[in-house]
């Protein structure tokens, strides 16, 4: 039942398309709910939503295999959901509860899952870039063929440690994919005001790292680029750069009114480029799904997200003695 449709990607099945639709929708509805809970005071501190960028992580996770690693910045909820982490645990971490992935001690920006090879959730812009190269280093050292997806934004791309990492990743042929999620704004600074050359993917050339630009609103294009990058890394050819052009619909964080761009700009993107609507269109025009099928998916997602919100509200706050745990380890928290 391979879906031979008129659209760009011939080699994607209807089931796969539906999966991407479902996963992107889960992220969007989850984030909308998180925004709502933030407004109600149930989520505190910084909270960076991923709405608009869903195709990036869903497309790349479609190119990943078991044992591949991922690491990202503080805009991390989408990455966690896309790699299969439990929405309940993620939402409960947002509300700072015992049932959260970090027992309520990490919050929105600092979440991890050893089980899903998700290495955070890092709050310092670009710090995750050498860390991701280091994860790739560990796989190369162990002699397996796993790859690490190291995500960072167009803002982070101006940090010096990114280029230190490019240099060593190329020098040591580390199996790392540097994924630049270019949502075009580093907080409130538009890319043309922060970045001397518009095409960030070219910046690997000085180090001999191949790079390409990808339409980040098109999940199939992202997946295809991801597969190419993964094959490159798995073959031992060293790092690869994907600059994925995307767009966040919301402000930088919940407290950002986003006055640095026009409402029309956002509206145009939502109407013409929305990644979920694009897949929805493919499913409907290719007759791979009916309106009713999609409604059923919407309903299921809504239930998952509501259940996560309920869990996150009902889970107790961490016991006070949690203040004093996990500061130092008595035994190794992991083995090689």
């Amino acid at each position: 039942m391979a879906a031979r449709k008129s659209a760009k990607k011939p080699n994607v099945s209807a089931d796969e398309l539906k999966t991407y639709y479902r996963e992107m929708l889960l992220i969007r509805r989850f984030e909308e709910k998180a925004g709502q809970l933030y407004g109600m005071g149930l989520i505190g501190g910084f909270c960076h939503l991923y709405i608009g960028q869903e195709a990036v992580v869903v497309g790349l996770e479609a190119a990943a295999e078991e044992g591949d690693k991922r690491i990202t910045s503080y805009r991390d909820h989408g990455h966690m959901l896309a790699c299969g982490m439990d929405p309940n645990g993620v939402m409960a971490e947002l509300t700072g509860r015992e049932g959260g992935y970090s027992k309520g001690k990490g919050g929105s920006m600092h979440m991890f899952s050893k089980e899903k090879d998700f290495y955070g959730g890092h709050g310092i812009v670009a710090a995750q870039v050498p860390l991701g190269a280091g994860l790739a280093f560990s796989d190369k050292y162990k002699g397996n063929d796993r790859v690490t997806f190291t995500y960072f934004g167009d803002g982070a791309a101006n940090q010096g440690q990114v280029y230190e990492s490019f240099n060593m990743a190329a020098l040591w042929a580390l199996p790392v994919i540097f994924v630049i999620e270019n949502n075009q704004y580093a907080m409130g600074t538009a890319q043309q005001r922060s970045t001397s050359s518009p095409d960030i993917y070219h910046r690997g050339e000085a180090f001999g790292i191949p790079g390409e630009m990808v339409d980040g609103m098109n999940v199939l294009a992202v997946k295809e680029a991801g597969e190419k990058a993964v094959a490159h890394c798995r073959a031992g050819k060293g790092p690869y750069i994907l600059e994925i052009k995307t767009y966040r619909y919301r402000g930088h964080s919940m407290s950002d009114p986003a006055k640095y761009r026009t409402r029309e700009e956002v509206q145009k993107m939502r109407e013409e480029r929305d990644p979920i609507e694009q897949v929805r269109g493919l499913l409907l025009t290719g007759e791979h799904a009916s309106e009713d099928d999609l409604k059923a998916i919407d309903k299921e997602i809504k239930q998952i997200v509501n259940a996560a919100a309920d869990f996150a509200k009902d889970s107790p706050e961490p016991a006070l003695d949690e203040l004093w745990t996990d500061i130092t380890a008595e035994t190794a928290p992991q083995t090689a």
């Binding site: 970090s102 710090a127 050498p130 860390l131 010096g160 240099n167 130092t328 928290p333």
Partner: protein, 464 residues
């Protein structure tokens, strides 16, 4: 008049060396840039070039002579028209060796200030009353440098996830020769030269630790670790907590810390108090070679990020080290170097040098100091300090770092809160002066803590 060719100082801390080989002989004419000799420091063999033109009139120090002090005349260079026969008979004999330094002539520079003296080899250590090894253990003399190297080698043999990375650690054999021979034994996969890129390679090492390896990161000096501070603190120290215990960074950050000699403000800083403040880190700062070895082995095995603060001046100093297959020293246990009833002197790292010197001199004045080496600053053996102060009722702390927010300040606050009733005098914190490190030799000497200051502090708290 013949020109004296003097034994050169080939590193900031070199005070003597071995004249390994002469590459010229008497009667050879030389011009500037010609290599005259090979000289071994404790770190490397260096070539020594001629500066002036002339004819080698006399070789004053035989090749193979060890312990030739810097600025000793090692040869005489004849100018045009002079001949070897013109040389006065009184010139120092070729067998001068070590003695040459003592009477190096009236124009020889003053000997290095006592406080800066490195003391390889034959220094008599006071016998520690609480050794960490059983009675009858066979001991060997080792430098701190060798002890650190052995610790890494032993742990790398035992666990193949342990690897060393840093600038010049592999092919160069270490900027301070701590990693000498490791590349040969373990290969380039596990002894890794990095580019000069502290922020980046520290982040890569932390990531590798997240990924299940046990990295040892060598900072050429800890001054350069400031470039990597974010990765050490925000990434390595905090991840175990932020992940609710799921993952952490079992690794060691090590390298020389504190003042070396004449390298001025940007290269002379003691970071003990900085790192000691961070929950999630452990901090070790050994003084002796046995502790350097035992603590580094413990650090490599520890499942947490460990800051391991070494000292360049101590690298060449020798101590007794137990000749055991697997000698480790636990964290959080102070060592009593000297027992006494009159005052407790608490120190760590190179501060111990001043503490022990002061205690020795104070003993001559009838003041019996108990000297405690903390060995690790986090965890800190405050129980040992309190125990000792309950006996002596007086405490002086010694460190090279700055006074505000010093390790000593913390110790004195602990004593005030937990042993107030036992104190007969305020705690005095002997620290480095509250200034960036100056370059000038006399100013540098005054910027550091001195033995005399420790003695003075003890006299103040003992009212003597």
């Amino acid at each position: 008049m013949a020109t004296e060719i003097l034994m050169p100082a080939l590193s900031p801390t070199m005070e003597e060396g071995t004249l390994a080989k002469w590459l010229v002989k008497e009667g050879d004419s030389v011009s500037s840039g010609d290599i005259l000799a090979e000289i071994e420091t404790d770190k490397a063999t260096m070539e020594f070039e001629a500066v002036d033109e002339g004819t080698i009139g006399k070789l004053l120090i035989a090749e193979g002579t060890e312990g030739v002090k810097v600025n000793t005349a090692i040869a005489l260079l004849l100018e045009d028209g002079e001949s070897a026969d013109d040389l006065p008979e009184a010139a120092p004999a070729a067998d001068a060796g070590k003695e040459a330094a003592a009477d190096g002539g009236s124009d020889a520079p003053a000997p290095a200030p006592k406080a800066r003296e490195t003391d390889p080899g034959d220094h008599a250590e006071p016998e520690a009353p609480e050794p960490d090894w059983p009675d009858g253990t066979k001991l060997k003399q080792q430098t701190v440098r060798e002890a650190l190297r052995d610790a890494m080698a032993e742990e790398m043999r035992a666990d193949d996830t342990v690897f060393l990375m840093g600038e010049e650690v592999a092919e160069y054999q270490g900027a301070y020769k701590i990693s000498q021979g490791l590349l040969d034994e373990f290969g380039a996969k596990r002894v890794i030269d990095t580019p000069i890129t502290e922020h980046g390679f520290t982040g890569i090492a932390v990531g590798a630790a997240f990924g299940g390896l046990r990295p040892i990161v060598e900072f050429m000096t800890f001054n350069f670790a400031m470039q990597a501070m974010d990765q050490i603190i925000n990434s390595a120290a905090k991840t175990l907590y932020m992940s609710g215990g799921q993952m952490g960074a079992p690794m060691v950050f090590r390298g020389p810390n504190g003042a070396a000699a004449r390298v001025a403000a940007q290269h002379s800083q003691d970071f003990a108090a900085w790192f000691m403040q961070i929950p999630g880190l452990k901090v070790a700062m050994p003084f002796s070679a046995s502790d350097a070895k035992g603590l580094l082995k413990t650090a490599i095995r520890d499942p947490n990020p460990v800051i391991f603060l070494e000292n360049e001046i101590l690298y060449g100093r020798s101590f007794d080290v137990p000749d055991l297959d697997d000698y480790t020293v636990p964290f959080g246990k102070a060592r009593i170097w000297r027992e006494g009833d009159d005052v407790t002197i608490v120190s760590f790292g190179i501060g111990m040098k001043y503490a022990l010197e002061a205690a020795e001199k104070l003993a001559q004045d009838g003041i019996d100091a108990e000297v405690l080496d903390l060995r690790t600053l986090r965890p800190m053996d405050t129980d040992a300090i309190i125990r000792s102060v309950k006996k002596t009722n007086r405490c002086v702390t010694v460190e090279e770092g700055w006074p505000q927010g010093s390790v000593g300040s913390y110790i004195s606050s602990v004593l005030m809160q937990q042993a107030f009733d036992y104190l007969d005098a305020p705690v005095i914190t002997c620290t480095g002066k509250d200034v960036p490190m100056p370059y000038a030799a006399n100013l540098e000497k005054h910027a550091l803590v001195t033995t005399e200051e420790v003695i003075e502090a003890v006299k103040q708290v003992t009212y003597s």
